[in-house]
């Protein structure tokens, strides 16, 4: 009977193990908040220094793709939350389907993001490689786009990790849903939602400024 050795010896019970794992994920998320925090401080500092350039640069981003990606991520988060709810032996196929939906949406996000990147390349908006902007605002705009590319690339990296994670979880769930996998799915879902939250703020910082002028 594998259930006897289902949890490592430092734990008292499998529930103890699962709660510990979730706590670990929360600590990891706190770390991640500060990882993006450094970038966000830089963003605010330069937005304060170059308000006009930031507004102008922001207008050059593609709000349609940005908003679509936000909707996509919010929906994928919704699907993942549903998948956590649907995790049980009876409904495991629904759970897998929901996860697959989230994976597809996640990949769509990345694809749209790369389309956006290539558009920006064509518009000469990549600092250091090929940057061409209204001469008067070029400094602030470069700083904006450095922030933009670093932040969104880092976020996209998180997305890819998340997609891989969801794929593994979907496979495990499909094969044999156990309480161990429920905990794993739970932690994976926390991570996915966190990546979603990061994007909510990036969206507000990158796409929205300067639209009204």
């Amino acid at each position: 009977m594998p259930e006897a050795k289902a949890f490592a010896s430092q734990f008292v019970s499998s529930q103890h193990r699962d709660e510990t794992a979730e706590l670990g994920m929360w600590v990891f998320i706190a770390t991640e908040v500060l990882l993006f925090g450094g970038l966000i401080l830089g963003y605010f500092v330069y937005r304060h220094a170059y308000p006009a350039a930031f507004a102008a640069a922001s207008r050059h981003t593609d709000i349609v793709i940005g908003a679509a990606n936000t909707a996509i991520l919010l929906t994928s988060s919704f699907l993942v939350a549903c998948a956590v709810d649907a995790f049980s032996a009876e409904t495991r196929k629904i759970c897998v389907a929901l996860l697959s939906g989230a994976i597809v949406l996640g990949l769509t996000f990345v694809v749209l993001k790369s389309i956006e990147y290539s558009d920006e390349y064509r518009e000469h908006l990549i600092p250091g490689i090929d940057f061409n902007f209204d001469a008067a605002l070029t400094n602030g705009a470069q700083l904006f786009f450095v922030f933009y590319f670093v932040a969104t690339a880092l976020h996209a990296l998180h997305m890819l990790v998340g997609v891989a994670l969801l794929a593994v979880l979907a496979t495990l769930t499909y094969r044999l849903p156990s309480s161990r996998h429920r905990a794993a799915l739970h932690s994976g879902a926390l991570y996915w939602h966190f990546v979603d939250v990061v994007w909510i703020f990036l969206f507000a910082l990158i796409y929205l400024p300067g639209r009204s002028s």
Binding site: E22, V45, I63, C82, E90, A189
Partner: protein, 91 residues
């Protein structure tokens, strides 16, 4: 397949999030001067709060998880507060 329906709170949260997204995009085009930024960030915070409370199930968690979730934000606040203090008060 057994009958499974998405729980109501999740659906409600999802709808609210999409609605807020629409709202924030719309308000971005309304000239409010400096309040545009405030509104955008306030709606962002609201959305994040919904995701945290409903999707991340924070509303069902105890004090400890709350502290863990809040610690990152609190220290982010320190970083932004003291970091920006220098740049906002330079002469």
């Amino acid at each position: 397949m057994t009958a499974w329906r998405p729980p109501l709170p999740l659906v409600a949260a999802w709808l609210a999030l999409i609605a807020l997204l629409g709202l924030t995009v719309m308000l971005a085009y309304v000239p409010l001067h400096m309040f545009n930024a405030v509104v955008a960030l306030a709606i962002g915070c609201l959305k994040a709060a919904i995701v945290a409370a409903v999707f991340m199930e924070l509303r069902h968690r105890g004090r400890r998880t709350f502290i863990f979730a809040g610690a990152g934000l609190f220290w982010l606040g320190i970083l932004l507060w003291l970091g920006l203090m220098d740049f906002l008060t330079r002469t």
